[in-house]
Symmetry: C2
Subunit: 149 residues, 2 copies
């Protein structure tokens, strides 16, 4: 963890909740001049603490209402471990975690409907030579809450 001053933390907190917040507003909220805030944000971006900004979409309205976790177990344990790279070719795979435990990877995927999930599973096995275990998400009470920076 890089040292983060309280003001930097405040900036990150604001931008986590409102990524399009103007420098003017941001300056007011953290109690600094606009140019000082501007400099700090640029520095946080350069250091890579701030990795970018993203729109939060409503997955339902965007046509991807079905979310699932897919756990992967390699079929050939001696195969080279390039699974993440192979799976990146599938746009439905939103996140890929390498995990400790019985299985090697956990994927978070989003698709339009059950048959699309079935099809995705087939393509995952095809592209990565893995066995899969799928946990379907029924509802999402909350997701990606801003961290307590």
């Amino acid at each position: 963890m890089t040292n983060l001053e309280p003001i930097d933390r405040a900036i990150l907190r604001v931008l986590s909740e409102d990524g399009r917040c103007s420098f003017t507003d941001l300056a007011e909220k953290v109690g600094l001049s606009v140019s000082a805030v501007h400099q700090r944000v640029r520095r946080l971006e350069q250091r890579g603490v701030l990795r970018g900004y993203a729109a939060r979409l409503d997955h339902e309205q965007v046509g991807l209402p079905l979310t699932a976790f897919i756990s992967l177990t390699p079929i050939d344990p001696s195969a080279p471990d390039d699974y993440p790279q192979r799976l990146a070719a599938l746009p439905e795979v939103q996140s890929c975690y390498s995990v400790a435990g019985d299985e090697s990877y956990i994927l978070l995927v989003r698709v339009a409907k059950a048959t699309a999930l079935e099809d995705l599973l087939r393509r995952i096995r095809e592209v990565a030579n893995v066995s899969t275990r799928t946990t379907v998400v029924l509802s999402t009470p909350y997701e990606d809450r801003p961290p307590a920076v």
Copy 2:
């Protein structure tokens, strides 16, 4: 899924990757005038398709390098199902999914170190009367990729 025109999809695609993109740039990228894009973005926000904007943080540098999935099984099956609400009080819980399968919920949590995870597990059991199963994330090849809208 609400009907989404190709241009709206293009707008969402751009803003998913660069949430702070200016209307001027956005207009150029989707091939429309600035004011037309402006109107469309406002409409997408009003419809709730665009739910907001968030900074992408580097969890390591922000002091939360340890990620884990925690699956929950209620101990008392007849207890009222207010788990998400109870767990929302814990800031380490970033996402909460209600899932089909052996377990009822999957949480994604972020903490500073192993002892903080241990402490969090204790608080989760305390606040929610559940048994837990934890899967520690070793590395994150990628996360929150923009969807193929």
